[in-house]
Amino acid sequence: MKKYLFLVFLWASCFRLFAQDYNASLFGCKSDGITNNTGSIQYAIDYIAKKGGGTLHFYVGRYLTGSFSLKSNVSIELHEGAVLLGSSNVFDYSSLNGKRALITAVGQSNIQIKGKGVIDGQQHLLQTHLTALRQKGYITLSDQPEDISLIYLQDSKQIQVKGIMQLNLPGAAQFVDRCEDVTFQGLDINCPGGIGVYVRNSNKVILSNIFFRAIERALVESEGNQGLTKENSRLANGKSI
């Protein structure tokens, strides 16, 4: 038994050893608000995943990016004052099953997106671009808000999104499909005309302490959900969802 405990301890300490912290600047991320950091952020996530996991830290500044995909055991921390600025070009949002998204996780686990920072979807610029593309027929993307989202989680588990302020979102703030054990906590969501959280076919999804500053629909529950918990989450008029 003692031996066993020791092994557990060893495993835990190994894990801690590997769960390292990396600053965004190490990978050439620029906080000037105009440099598109997609390549650097994706390389950072892949690199940290390869090294066994850890956290990518963004400090105060504005980090422009297109879509990137999350990997298991790699977390992102947006410290107070850090803004992850979504590109205003819809093609910078990757397409998955006909839906586009800025941050995607497909088949991943054990990820946190946390901190007091901001994710800004630049909704107005993005809408302008989308409208122009639709007029020319250059894009096949419906105008359903859930078809373009900020965070898109599919077939993933143990995902937490905590403390972030989400501004000017393109459509849906988060889209959860076939996931398990997903927590949204302490978010401040400002998404006029959009959806706060869209959940389908998922188990154990928790919404806790979320404030919807402006929203069309705070929560959309589609088919096949089990164990969805809502606690202490309010709309701008003070009503609970």
Binding site: G28, T38, G39, Y43, N89, F91, A132, K136
Partner: protein, 494 residues
Amino acid sequence: MKILPIFLIIIQALTFRLAVAQDYKAMDFGINGDGQALNTRSIQAAIDYITNKGGGTLRFTPGNYVTGSFYLKSNVTLHLEQGANLLGSNNPFDYHKDTVVNWQSMIYAIRQHNIGIVGKGTINGRGFQTAMNALQNVHKGIVQDELKLDRLREWNRPENIYFRECKHVVIKDITLRDPGSWNQTYDQCEDLHVEGIYVDSKSYWNNDGIDVVDCKNVVIRNCFFDAADDAICFKSHDANAVCENVLVENCTARSSASALKFGTVSRGGFRNFVVKNLVVYDTYRSAITFAAVDGGFVENILVDGVRSINTGNVIFLRIGDRWSKGKKPFMKNITIRNVYAEVPANKPDLGYSYEGPVEDMPRNISPASIIGLPDHKIENVTLENIEMVYPGGGNALYAYRGTDPKSLDGIPEMANAYPEFSQFKELPAWGLYIRHAKQINLKNVSFRIKNTDYRPTIVADDLEGGVWDFKSYLNGQVLKDNFHLHQSKEIKTN
């Protein structure tokens, strides 16, 4: 009965043209020419859209379009208007390393057909800064590279263009500049047409002007190349493939390496080439280098019309045995005619960015050379209507190679060395040195020097057969006893 198939062909040609005629504006896809926005994904989205619609032209109006790696697809042509600049991102992480070619590039096309890049605009890789940034990433420890010669390996730096296994490729009128590695590679492509392009490629190490690798049916015409590495370069990467049926016409080249080169990687071979009206200037190494050092062959080559000014060496033909892996190399049936060449006393590429390296010293001015191996002789080479002007002044106290048997036999074979005209250091002739060859003919060839040289004009060693009609001059005075034969036979001189 016969009419139907012809009719079908006409119809097919028509629809093909109609598809190509469809014009799309880059800006309509949100591709932004402000010099700041990264357009990688929107350019890719536009190309994907056009190819899915059956093809067309993606047109870039004047502006600065920053991008990382993207893929050109079948039936899509990029049209860069004059003033439209496709700029390479300076972030190395914006580039992809394609898994088929295992090399970084800005524009890829892999197994596509009917593709092109045309117009008077520019593709500017901005490769120096990108290479510097990539170097920083290695120093930070987040990217692995062996850093040969203190630089990232060439496959870990982006080229401007890398096309592989494509058919019907047109590259026309554009300017290509400042890549991080080679400029443009066409690898195992068929029907490649390169015309009227301007290449300025001196931003960093390995900046070849154009690399045509194992391609069939190639035309390179009316182009200008200024490159820090080989300017017009044919390669054969695949032992089972060949570079063949090539026309190079009316081109001008400047290089800190060789102007026209076969090799260095030369595993398969090169055959059926016609090179016409080539102008070479300010070039550090050879105007013409044909190297078969990796088991490949060179055959049926005609070079007709070369003007080579201020260029370090005129001709270097070489069989080596570097990465042959048992494959037998050969080089035969080569005609080089109508050549005027001036070789300078000083470094020809002085002052250019990324000058060629001063190496293989001490050495007086090197002669044109035709050098095979004892078991693999260069065969049937004709040099016709050629005038080579050398500075002369070879100083035996500085570097000396005599014509006595011991000295000549003492020249190393260097079979597995990197082939370069200067590799043997001092050679025993000032005009032409031949070794391990068969049937080398000179028709109306003249060699000139301005100062006396301690060496004879021509030295042949292990040459079997040849008809020589040549003269050599010192300041206009005919030189006598101007050649030396060693272990050679059946040479007829006039």
